[in-house]
Symmetry: C2
Subunit: 121 residues, 2 copies
DNA sequence: TTTATTATTCTACAAATGTAGAGGTAAAAT
DNA sequence: ATTTTACCTCTACATTTGTAGAATAATAAA
């Protein structure tokens, strides 16, 4: 089972906040914000799909993610990336670093991460 | 306008082949292959959406992509990545290099790409 | 306590998606 | 010339998605 585009967007807010009431989630949206009922519907669907859980606080709910961002990403987005880059991660990685405009500092940071990984091999 | 998941999959075959008849595209699918009419429907929808063009060869068509893979990727997939990584490309990049299992050679290749980019800054 | 706020479920509905049969035609194989 | 193959359009239909109003209940503010 997977999330739709809009559900993913909502999920990203939830991952960011970690725990949140509807109100908090609504606030995360830029104008024009969706109707509360829209978000409520989304939350219900996501709960049904097993991606979101909640604890009751009185009568209302504090929602939280039931799947980790990185797990979700690996499972769903990596597949997409593979599709695009004929299964070559490095092909993708080099594309990505070329396309996105990383600052010098970010690039250096990234290089040091790569160096560490090279050491491990 | 964007492509749906299955349309994206078909598109990835088209990007790979560059030019292809229906038959060639069908062959790209693993078993169990979809019905020809399914692929035909998809191709029609994608043509209507402006992602695919074709030249007539007698009565049948040789299809080709009307958008470049990298352009499509930047426009549609980067948004998703941003969603996940709170807009930090480097955060994503480091996640990605950690998660995907790149070989030593690939990592070194990637490092040299990054080095080149650092030089440009 | 009357009112305003907030959250939730139900219901609704158009558009998009996934999937493919039916029917027709042109081209290729026999 | 007849059969087979490939391909295209139309039609169909169940699901999923995007979006939100109506109704309801609980809570907080006045």
């Amino acid at each position: 089972m997977k999330l739709s585009k809009t559900e993913e967007e909502l999920m990203s807010h939830l991952w960011k906040l970690e725990k949140a009431f509807m109100k908090d989630l609504l606030e995360e949206y830029p104008e024009p914000k969706p109707a509360t009922t829209t978000v409520a519907t989304l939350l219900k669907r996501m709960t049904d799909k097993g991606f979101v859980g909640y604890e009751l606080f009185g009568k209302s709910r504090r929602y939280f993610p039931l799947v980790e961002k990185t797990a979700y990403f690996s499972k769903h987005v990596n597949g997409l990336i593979k599709n695009f880059f004929n299964d070559s991660s490095s092909q993708f990685a080099s594309f990505f670093t070329k396309e996105t405009d990383l600052s010098k500092k970010e690039l250096e940071e990234l290089r040091s991460i790569i160096d560490q990984q090279i050491k491990k091999k």
